[in-house]
């Protein structure tokens, strides 16, 4: 997605661009697939950064302007509300921050002043300043809030919707996430992630860009610390001056034709997800929340589990529960943090064992749905479970990571002239972040320098 956004910007200004896509479908970590007549989104639970089109200068509006895609074409419908559900407390929030403020007041009256102070600090903070120093977010938040359980609840959605680090994140990232989720909020484009990808593809084509599917970059060719071209599918060579890589940092350096002077860590966080198609919609089964951030422990453990997956915490998404519902059936999605190596091991040992483990994920999914208050009077018409190895296979991200490496290249620069990083490893998060990343890297490193 960051690659498509970058491609649009560059071809808009008459640069000769080719996008090389390894897969047969665009989108990378946010994509879709079909089974029978049904279409499934992967990645996107919700689009963050929801804004009223009249509000100026917000990330989503900026994005639309830079790509010249009218805002209305996304046909966004906002969430009903979402829920952070811990063992003894629940916090509701929607796209109006006042609901969360009321919920904090109600559940943590002793912390309301601290929470308001944090809110002011966040609103005044410039999170996209590339010169911000790295400070861990929990250290900053503890200056405002003392109650551990409120801290855990606030961090829960922000961590699982975008942190490559375990249990904490850089404060700038925290502010990006806080603003995009709590201050702006969730929505869903009509038609799901496919609508976004189709709009980007159409725009790229209008601008005269070229896109090749099933074209894997197998080598980045350099000479004298400067980019000279890429090798595609182990055969064809394409010469070029600039490469914007959305493969990820470690993945990009793995195909570079020289010994890396810098090593990048592969992130620890991957996921399993169960998608259930049901005969009844969640509303008929007693749930009108859009997303439930479920945690069954006093503390929220956002870390690689020592088992195949962590069934004690999950993100439960009900795509029917946006204001506009274009599904004919009920759709339930449950995402758990998972351990890539253990899944890989299972797959190597035996396919049957792997299948059995997938079934265990499904059993826990049903249990989690029940714990979220879903009435069990439904029939499952179809189910699909994907694992960290599935993510690895389709996206090429080492370790099946969804939020990339714990090393980010904020400026997008590498030691090789002409080679730049965009997408999740440049450090902007989510769908909106990935598009912003592509746009700003194209502007900064290619368009400004060749004016």
């Amino acid at each position: 997605m960051s690659g498509l956004a970058a491609g649009i910007r560059l071809s808009m200004y008459n640069k000769k661009v080719v996008i090389l896509e390894k897969h047969t479908i665009s989108g990378g970590l946010n994509s879709y697939y079909s089974r029978g007549k049904r279409k499934f989104d992967v990645g996107l639970h919700a689009l963050t950064n929801f804004v009223d089109p009249t509000q100026r200068g917000r990330p989503f509006n900026k994005l639309m302007k830079q790509l010249r895609i009218p805002y209305e074409e996304f046909k966004l419908s906002p969430q009903n509300y979402s829920l952070i559900q811990f063992p003894d407390k629940k916090l509701k929030f929607n796209n109006d921050i006042n609901l969360l403020v009321e919920e904090v007041q109600l559940n943590f009256p002793h912390e309301i002043d601290g929470f308001m102070g944090l809110l002011t600090h966040i609103k005044n903070f410039n999170e996209v300043d590339l010169s911000n120093e790295l400070v861990m977010a929990k250290v900053v938040v503890k200056n405002f809030i003392k109650d551990e359980s409120l801290i855990e609840m606030i961090f829960c959605p922000l961590l699982i919707y975008g942190s490559a680090w375990e249990n904490d994140m850089d404060f700038s990232q925290f502010v990006i996430m806080f603003k995009s989720i709590f201050l702006e909020g969730f929505s869903r484009p009509t038609g799901g992630v496919r609508t976004i990808i189709d709009l980007l593809l159409k725009r790229f084509e209008e601008c005269g860009g070229e896109l090749r599917f099933k074209s894997e970059v197998t080598r980045i060719i350099s000479a004298k610390e400067k980019v000279v071209g890429v090798e595609v599918n182990g055969a064809e060579i394409i010469e070029c001056d600039h490469i914007l890589s959305s493969m990820g940092l470690p993945e990009t350096f793995a195909v570079l034709d020289q010994e890396p002077a810098e090593l990048h860590r592969v992130g620890n966080l991957s996921f399993t997800e169960s998608i259930l198609i049901t005969d009844k919609k969640p509303k008929e089964l007693g749930i009108d929340a859009t997303i439930i951030f479920y945690n069954n422990r006093p503390q929220y453990l956002y870390q690689k589990p020592t088992s195949l997956f962590d069934s004690e915490s999950a993100v439960v998404c009900f795509p029917n529960n946006f204001t506009h519902d274009d599904y004919a059936e009920g759709v339930l999605r449950v995402t758990n943090i998972a351990n890539y190596e253990l899944w890989k091991q299972q797959l190597l040992l035996s396919k049957d064992l792997y299948k059995e483990s997938k079934n265990e994920v499904y059993q826990q999914t049903v249990k989690i749905l029940k714990n979220c208050g879903l009435n069990s009077q439904y029939e499952v018409l179809f189910k699909d479970i994907f694992t960290p190895t599935t993510i690895q296979r389709y996206t090429g991200h080492f370790g099946g990571t969804v939020y990339g490496s714990t090393d980010k290249s904020r400026t997008g620069k590498t030691k090789i002239e002409g080679l730049y990083i965009c997408g999740t490893d440049q450090g902007f998060l989510g769908i909106v972040g990935s598009m912003l990343s592509g746009i700003s890297m194209a502007n900064l490193h290619v368009l400004s320098s060749t004016l």
Binding site: Y13, N14, P53, R56, G57, N61, K62, M64, K65, Q66, R68, P70, Y71, I439, S440, N443, L447, S448, L451
Partner: protein, 85 residues
């Protein structure tokens, strides 16, 4: 020779495409564009690039401030348009 009004129209066409969601019909010529429209530095870069793409007019970085208001745009760009004619 392009009149100032014609130059203004050409600039306005560019701004209208960049500031998709803004109404550009009521722009006041003497007031900074930034104060009237939702434009940031990335958008000013786009104005510069559109001038180059559509009209082959180059604006060096040190002259970006000359694009601040519609009036200063016309003053600065009219000679450049007419140098081409």
């Amino acid at each position: 020779m392009l009149t100032n009004e014609e130059v203004r129209t050409k600039v306005l066409d560019i701004i209208a495409d960049i500031a998709l969601d803004d109404d550009v019909t009521g722009i006041k010529d003497e007031v900074a564009l930034r104060e009237q429209l939702d434009l940031d530095s990335m958008d000013f870069l786009d104005i510069v690039m559109e001038l180059k793409k559509r009209h082959k007019i180059e604006v060096p970085q040190e002259d970006y401030t000359r694009l601040a208001s519609m009036q200063s745009c016309v003053e600065y760009l009219a000679p450049k348009f007419n140098a081409q004619a």
